[in-house]
């Protein structure tokens, strides 16, 4: 098969499956699940073929909107390059494992068909983002990813918290997309194109730097929403209301990485807009720090992981803000993170499944003995996350820190270093409280190891968490190919020393603090309440949206409507009492008038 065919199948197969489930297969939930999982496996094979083939392609197809060459043309087109091939492999690999895991996790769920249709829809949307060759197409799939995420977070829609979380996720992303669309429009008027290759060629000639920086920042807004950066990060922890495999696939490994991917796709834009690049780097670093702080005091196992995701995404965004000097490092971290974070989430899913949907780590404990495979794989994932030397996460994080130092971004570099201390701290806390010591509730007491359909994905991901940074595994996945892997694996210098100190200090501090504890010894309210950001946002929405809306509603009802609608209408009415003839309510009379009119009309026609 040529690249062209593979790309089309990759894109359309999941859509086909989603449509089939929706239109007819819904009743047979087992078949739906198998079909969806089968298609995920097939896309993984195709993505691997694409990666192995290594050939680039620029696919243009039919015009989607066409108002003439000189005016505006959007084609459904795809770019296959090393960036897309690598991302495609991540998406399909994690995607397939999550499908597999879900076969077990969602076995008895009432809405199993709907769930798998949602997963397939997600795979379709995500593939569209990865392969898009222009901004409009990327925006289309960007929004569709938002919808599939809405469907999956709200899977258990009868739970009020899940329903609210789904809505919150979609709306928060919409706010980001508001900026994204403005950014696309600004880029369009500056460079005259929506196609990435043409923008890259034209961006050097742009003279209006203010507008170019504004454009880049607006485009970045899209990434702030989708990749859950401060200040729009609030939806991601709530999104954990969805089934845990969804959290692993969408809210850890792939969808939330779309913002990072998009910035890597338009790195030439960031490169050209200095001011915007600095802002991006800072936002990433600040997000990494704030999220790590918030993770310190959470008790829900999934929420801890969610905040750590936000924090790691901050790293990746920061790397994108470094321009071409950091984009490879950022993508590298996206790639390693996808595996170890999916692993951690699926591990958490196994724990939650075994503990009868108990998610509070203080009610777990002692799971190391009950679930040895899950514990071992979870620990490997945690090791990669906290960047234990020679795990995959170590190399990619080092790459980002090195890049920040090299590009002279000292501020973000320092913040990132603090995070390198905080991450080991909260992960050690999580491991010790949930897995070590004695059991602290009946749910945990009766926990058993999960079956192979669930632990096989864990084992595969654990392998990747350890080794994905090496050799053949890493080669095709880096944006600019094999040649650059060398410089990412830089020498052990200042950065490595500092972050290793941070790791040791973090683990040690948490170890001594949480050893043998049955409840939280450290109570920092402002962190537990997440800096009160949710409360602040709710207040803002109440005042600036609902308050203003209610006020305007009153204005409309009692000021505008009487003054502009009713008064003219009623004064005209009192002036025209003769109009009462309409009010006779006599059907025959009306029909008669009508008949006369039609006869007159026909008479004219024949004339």
């Amino acid at each position: 098969m040529d690249v062209n065919t593979i790309a089309w199948i990759l894109l359309l197969l999941p859509l086909l499956v989603a449509a089939m489930i929706l239109l007819g297969l819904k009743r047979w939930s087992g078949l739906s699940a198998l079909l969806s999982t089968g298609s995920a496996l097939l896309t993984l094979v195709l993505a691997a073929m694409l990666a192995a083939g290594g050939s680039d392609a620029e696919i243009r197809s039919f015009p989607w909107i066409d108002l003439g060459q000189d005016t505006f043309q959007v084609e459904i087109g795809m770019t296959v390059d090393s960036l897309a091939r690598g991302m495609m492999l991540v998406v399909t690999f994690v995607g397939f494992l999550v499908h597999l895991f879900s076969l077990g996790y969602m076995r008895d769920d009432r809405g199993k068909s709907r769930y798998f249709a949602g997963l397939s829809l997600f795979m379709f949307s995500m593939t569209g983002i990865v392969l898009a060759n222009n901004f409009v197409m990327m925006f289309i799939f960007w929004e569709l990813v938002g919808v599939s995420s809405y469907i999956l977070i709200g899977h258990w829609y009868q739970k009020a918290s899940a329903a609210d979380a789904a809505k919150k996720a979609f709306l928060t992303n919409r706010i980001g997309d508001f900026g994204f669309m403005i950014g696309i429009l600004l880029v369009w008027i500056l460079t005259g194109s929506i196609y990435f290759d043409e923008i890259e060629a034209a961006v050097g000639g742009v003279t209006n730097m203010t507008l170019l920086n504004a454009a880049a920042l607006c485009v970045f807004c899209g990434a702030i929403g989708k990749s859950a950066q401060v200040p729009l990060h609030v939806w991601l922890p709530d999104a954990m209301e969805g089934p845990t495999p969804v959290s692993a696939l969408i809210h850890a490994a792939t969808m939330v990485a779309a913002g990072v991917f998009m910035l890597a796709r338009v790195v030439f834009l960031i490169e050209a807009a200095d001011m915007a690049a600095t802002v991006i780097a800072w936002i990433g670093a600040v997000t990494a720090l704030l999220a790590a702080l918030m993770a310190l005091q959470q008790n829900d196992i999934k929420r801890i992981l969610a905040y750590s995701t936000v924090s790691q995404l901050g790293y990746m965004i920061m790397a994108q803000g470094l321009g071409s000097g950091g984009t490879d490092a950022g993508m590298f971290h996206l790639y390693t993170h996808a595996f170890f974070k999916a692993l951690l989430f699926l591990g958490a899913g196994a724990v939650i499944y075994a503990c009868h949907h108990q998610q509070d780590i203080w009610k777990m404990g002692g799971l190391r003995r009950k679930m040895p495979i899950t514990f071992a794989t979870f620990a490997i994932g945690a090791a990669a996350l906290v960047a234990v030397p020679f795990t995959s996460g170590f190399w990619s994080k080092e790459a980002i820190l090195e890049a920040a130092l090299r590009e002279g971004m000292i501020g973000p570099y320092v913040l990132a270093m603090i995070v390198a201390f905080l991450t080991p701290f909260y992960m050690t806390r999580l491991l010790m409280v949930a897995f070590l010591g004695g059991t602290r509730s009946d749910d945990t007491e009766n926990a058993e190891e999960v079956g192979p359909v669930m632990w096989v994905p864990l084992a595969l991901l654990a392998f990747m968490a350890l080794f994905s940074a090496y050799g053949l595994l890493a080669g095709p996945l880096l944006a600019r190919g094999q040649a650059d892997v060398g410089h990412l694996f830089g020498s052990f210098g200042l950065t490595a020393t500092l972050s290793m100190l941070g790791l040791i200090a973090g683990v040690a501090a948490a170890y001594f603090l949480y050893r043998g504890k049955k409840e939280e010894p450290l109570r920092i309210r402002v962190l537990a309440r997440k800096f009160y950001l949710d409360e602040i946002y709710i207040a803002l929405v109440r005042i600036f949206q609902d308050g203003v809306a209610a006020f305007l509603d009153v204005v409309d009802r009692y000021v505008l409507d009487p003054a502009i609608t009713r008064f003219p209408a009623m004064s005209a009415m009192s002036a025209g009492r003769f109009l009462r003839v309409f009010q006779v309510g006599n059907v025959q009379a009306y029909a008669f008038f009508f008949g006369v009119a039609v006869v007159v009309l026909i008479y004219f026609l024949v004339l």
């Binding site: 003439g68 289309i140 009868q158 329903a163 979609f170 706010i175 305007l552 409309d556 609608t565």
Partner: protein, 501 residues
């Protein structure tokens, strides 16, 4: 009779036969399906190689005396009117299907179905007319049964009052419009009512209207058409009218008939008084933001689905105005496509709202909840409709809005003017629509269901048929906007071929 005359007159003749005793529902359904088939036939036989102007023309001269303006019963289709014809025909079929069976109608079922046909047929006549006189007359023909339907078959205790308010208010709008139209015809020599001829006269520097006069004429047309299309601040009639009207009437009026106002602006006001449009551009920008932001927020405050839909329909008119204000090919193409998309999607939403009320007895958000479990099919379909209205890709609305937004920026040339800033503010409306649509969906379909709502039947055949027809239209155009865009592009190529500047 030519094809187009059959399309226009068939609904009216069917209405006549119903008045004379033919079975009401069957006749209405049969004739509207035939009209839809004929419209599709016309679309398939559209000749793209012929440049500009109207096709399928037919004309019968009615008044052609010396000293009098020439009036003919003349019809024709260009790409724009063809799209609106398709919209009208699709929604008419759906509205008839949604209507209750004869024995379920309180009052005269003949009058009910006959009125629906008159509303649909009147709208079709207005969109197909190439003569100004009949363009106006057909719209009036459609308005009268609309008023009647609200007053006679409407819901709620205020329906008679609402019917009167709407009647008088829209009549005032029509009157202002009439004055504007007559002024334009007189200013253009007063010799003809043929739209194409009038446009040609307006285009030529010798016979065109003086710039200052154009401003007045455009203002009158803007107010007249604006009232009909619920342009801010003339929107007060719309939300009560839609929540009190019977569902099929709300579908036909919000979906189809209301588009007459924006259609008129594109078909008449822009070509007749282009300088006036330019002079009043900033006024239009302010008013359309009134629709999008002010009414968008008012929509958020609504506590009942029918009122929320009424306001949201008014809000989205702002985007059509934005496309018109942009005035370029891109913006106008978006405006026309949005007329279609909005028409279908609002009809779809009203149809579904009707099913919800029928099954659960209320449309108040506070009393509903968790319906996705009781009525999964209804939940799925409403989800599609809500996301379509919120401008999600995959539905026609998104394709149209994208054109409008790019249209707003098309003439920017590297810096931001008023139009671009307006577009940026208008983009916030996309967030607002998502807010109220998702809130509605959350409170109706998600969450735990109130106890007394438990065991109610889901939407099933054949009640789902009209909804599916609308949905298929929305999705197929959403996936392949070129289905309709090719016609619009063809019309606009002609439009810009002959309009200077």
């Amino acid at each position: 009779m030519s094809l187009i005359e059959i399309i226009v007159l068939l609904p009216l003749l069917a209405a006549l036969t119903i008045a004379l005793g033919a079975p009401a529902r069957l006749t209405a359904l049969g004739s509207s399906v035939v009209v839809l088939v004929l419209s599709l036939f016309a679309a398939l036989n559209f000749r793209f190689q012929v440049e500009g102007a109207f096709q399928f023309e037919s004309s019968r001269s009615l008044i052609d005396a010396a000293g009098m303006p020439e009036i003919s019963l003349a019809f024709g289709l260009d790409g724009i009117s063809l799209v609106l014809l398709l919209l009208s025909a699709i929604v008419l079929v759906a509205a008839v299907l949604v209507s209750p069976r004869e024995n379920a109608i309180v009052g005269s079922s003949r009058l009910y179905y006959l009125s629906l046909l008159l509303i649909g047929g009147g709208a079709i006549g207005a969109f197909c007319s190439t003569d100004l006189f009949f363009l106006y007359a057909f719209h009036e023909l459609a308005l009268i049964p609309t008023f009647l339907m609200i007053g006679l078959f409407g819901r709620g205790e205020n329906r008679v009052r609402t019917a009167w308010t709407v009647t008088i208010y829209l009549s005032i709008g029509s009157l202002v419009l009439l004055v504007g139209l007559l002024m334009a015809v007189v200013a253009l020599g007063g010799s003809t009512f043929a739209i194409a001829d009038l446009a040609a006269l307006a285009r030529s520097p010798e016979t065109g209207i003086a710039a200052e006069r154009q401003t007045w004429i455009f203002f009158l047309l803007l107010v007249g058409f604006g009232i009909l299309v619920s342009l801010f601040p003339f929107h007060g009639w719309a939300a009560p009218a839609y929540s009190d009207a019977p569902i099929p009437v709300a579908m036909l009026h919000a979906g189809v008939l209301k588009k007459f106002g924006v259609y008129g602006l594109i078909r008449i006001a822009l070509p007749f008084a282009p300088a006036g449009a330019e002079a009043l551009l900033n006024l239009v920008l302010v008013l359309l933001l009134g629709n999008i932001i002010y009414l968008g927020l008012v929509t958020v405050a609504q506590k009942r689905l029918d009122r929320m839909l009424g306001y949201s329909s008014v809000m989205h008119m702002g985007y059509i105005f934005l496309g018109i204000a942009a005035g370029n090919k891109l913006g106008l193409a978006g405006a026309v496509l949005l007329m279609f998309a909005h028409g279908i999607s609002i009809a779809l939403l009203f149809a579904l709202a009707g099913s919800i009320r029928e099954r659960f007895g209320t449309l108040e958000f506070a009393k509903l909840g968790g319906l996705a479990a009781n009525a999964p099919r209804l939940g799925l379909l409403f989800g599609f409709a809500a996301f379509a209205a919120a401008g999600l890709p995959g539905f026609a609305n998104f394709a149209a809005e994208i054109n409008v937004f790019f249209g707003g920026f098309a003439d920017a040339e590297g810096s931001l003017g008023w139009l671009q800033w307006t577009t940026i503010i208008a983009l916030w409306g996309v967030v607002i629509s998502a807010v109220y649509m998702l809130r509605a969906y959350r409170s109706i379909f998600y969450g735990p269901a109130p106890a007394k709502l438990q065991s109610k039947a889901d939407l099933a055949w054949p009640a789902a048929l009209p909804v599916l027809i609308l949905l298929v239209a929305l999705i197929s155009v959403g996936f392949v906007p070129e289905l309709l865009n090719q016609y619009i592009r063809h019309a606009l190529d002609g439009f810009f071929l002959v309009t200077p500047g």
